[in-house]
Symmetry: C2
């Protein structure tokens, strides 16, 4: 698919570029230089140019970057031009919060199903999506060509469920369970470890006080 491996440090910055470019675009701004973007985003102009040039020359000497064009290109790099089909495992508050985030749908992330082990929830609807028993997961993944699974379940079951999902052919896991998943090569895992994040905040609070 691509030539050189891009470092995750660069990848992590792409969504932020995308966000700021979207805002510029919405504000009706047509062109932007790396220096102007640098001032707004508080990163160096040099880093912006280096980051972008990992993917191609999107700018023009003496002019800068066309906002709309760059926005679209970064969107494509991020894979937002393709549809992703997701299921959520765990119909708790977190799972519900994610399903209700309308912005994901706008970016091509389509929630197709929600699964849980609590039979009291089976058949209930969350934003039009039926909660199903985990036993139906395999067939559902195959029939609906699901490529991403979102894990909002406790950590003790997460490892096992992740293994199942991989065996069903899922390609990516958005993992909110507080455990590290070990998956085969070619399967992508993106972790959101909320308690790690809160501990980081706590560290910074304690280390900067006084």
């Amino acid at each position: 698919m691509e030539e050189k491996e891009i470092s995750q440090a660069v990848v992590s910055r792409l969504p932020r570029y995308f966000r700021y470019l979207g805002e510029l675009k919405d504000a009706g701004i047509e062109r932007v230089s790396s220096q102007e973007l640098s001032d707004i985003m508080r990163v160096t102009a040099s880093q912006i140019r280096q980051d972008l040039n990992n993917f191609g020359g999107f700018g023009q000497q003496g002019y800068g970057y066309n906002v709309g064009y760059l926005y679209d290109e970064i969107g494509k790099i991020l894979g937002l031009h393709k549809e992703h089909r997701l299921i959520i495992i765990g119909a708790g508050h977190l799972g519900q919060a994610l399903v209700n985030y309308m912005n994901f749908e706008r970016r091509g992330f389509l929630f197709k199903g929600i699964f849980d082990i609590d039979e009291k929830l089976f058949g209930t609807q969350i934003r039009g999506i039926t909660v199903r028993p985990m036993q139906e997961m395999e067939r559902f993944v195959l029939e609906n060509e699901i490529d991403i699974a979102v894990l909002t379940i406790p950590k003790n079951s997460a490892v096992e469920v992740a293994e199942q999902l991989v065996s069903y052919g899922i390609k990516g896991i958005w993992n909110f369970a507080h455990v590290d998943l070990h998956v085969p090569r070619g399967i992508q895992v993106e972790n959101v470890h909320l308690s790690d994040s809160l501990m980081k905040l706590s560290y910074n609070l304690v280390s900067h006080e006084g």
Copy 2:
């Protein structure tokens, strides 16, 4: 408070060390060498030793590290020995999900209040915590010595609310709104940008496929 500034790269790894040490401790394991930990955590032993030695010599030559002791020390470094008093701004699903996470309380993060602008929610209880109107925020922060605010509100109001909170004396913001907050020096912001995380997953999916 401390001598040399520790890099955020190191800080980001501390919660993960803490988690694995907790698991070892729960498994009744008393000692661990950097090499053993390296095998389990899939990071280099050298990095583990370097990271820990930023904060002091917790090990012993020829022996390794005492699991319980190291666990406690990292907990202290992370500020988990101190109580944190939190409020949540935004009583939606995400806010509710966080309040219901019992693990945070266990680590000394005490949710004291929930605020929202929707008057239909005023007075309702979420896990025993009353939802209050935003107008009461200032007095509540002062009277309850709140040090952390959790922002689970839309991005358009987040910047303004953050400014208010800072003026009320809040020290840390756990920001789930999809916007960058600019706060005075001495105030800590920890961002959880969920859509950035999902885009990263999307990038890795698209770039590794085929």
